[in-house]
């Protein structure tokens, strides 16, 4: 891609998988507090291209979030508070 032609270039920070960088940061369906970081306020799972997770950890994260949803630790869909 010709970089010089695009005048308005978005600032891009290099994204690193947080679970690879910090081994103490574990994925567990019983801990919704860390899982919540990877969902939108609506309760959707944030895609890998935005969160920067690696494929392996994104897969684990997805199953963990889905498990947390089945036992009502996390919402399937959350209503926005200002509605």
């Amino acid at each position: 891609m010709p970089r010089f032609k695009r005048r308005k270039r978005m600032f891009r920070r290099r994204k690193i998988c947080r679970f690879c960088a910090d081994s103490s940061f574990v994925i567990d369906y019983k801990n919704p507090r860390t899982l919540r970081l990877f969902t939108t306020e609506r309760g959707k799972i944030i895609p890998r291209r935005i969160s920067g997770n690696c494929a392996k950890h994104q897969r684990q994260l997805t199953t963990a979030i889905k498990r947390a949803r089945t036992i009502a630790l996390m919402p399937y869909s959350a209503a926005l508070s200002h509605y």
């Binding site: 019983k30 507090r33 498990r67 089945t70 036992i71 009502a72 630790l73 399937y76």
Partner: protein, 168 residues
């Protein structure tokens, strides 16, 4: 043998006397089906992310155990029939576990708990029981997890302060 984790949600309006027979029944069931109970973890009351059977709060219990598929089947059948259980989920944690390793793990956990209890003096025990007496109404009132954490921190800080007072 496989290792499973079952999380189930009990109706929060039940009293201790009403829910205890249910817990006993389920733990007995594990023993009756040649299972091995590893941990009975009481998470307490939590806010549900969505309503289940018109309830917005639930009492969470985690069962960590080893056993076969037939045990899980029987356990889930019992929970499905029981009106007190709002929802349950079983997850297979390990497919092939060594019974001896699990037993030693249980012993280690028990020993750690005992060491913790014995290291705390009788004065601190009294303080801890006082703290427990005070905390349940506070827990019942709070609504968000953030508040619960703040309360936990408050409880911890008081625990830390009291032993030093006793020493002085």
């Amino acid at each position: 043998m496989r290792r499973y984790e079952t999380v189930f949600i009990v109706n929060p309006s039940l009293s201790q006397e009403e829910s205890q027979p249910l817990f006993d029944k389920l733990t007995d069931l594990i023993a009756a089906h040649h299972g091995l109970m590893v941990k009975f973890d009481d998470w307490g009351q939590k806010r549900l992310a969505y309503e289940i059977k018109k309830q917005t709060r639930g009492y969470y219990i985690l069962l960590d155990f080893c056993g076969n598929g037939s045990l899980v089947k029987e356990l889930e059948r019992n929970m499905r029939l029981d009106e007190r259980v709002l929802k349950y989920m079983t997850v297979c944690v390990a497919k092939d576990v060594d019974e001896e390793a699990i037993k030693s793990e249980i012993d280690a956990a028990e020993e750690a708990a005992r060491a913790k209890a014995s290291s705390a003096g009788p004065v601190e025990d009294a303080a801890a029981s006082e703290a427990q007496e005070q905390s349940p109404p506070a827990e019942a009132l709070d609504s968000s997890p953030g508040e619960a954490e703040a309360l936990d921190n408050a409880a911890l800080s008081t625990d830390k302060e009291e032993p030093t007072d006793a020493k002085v």
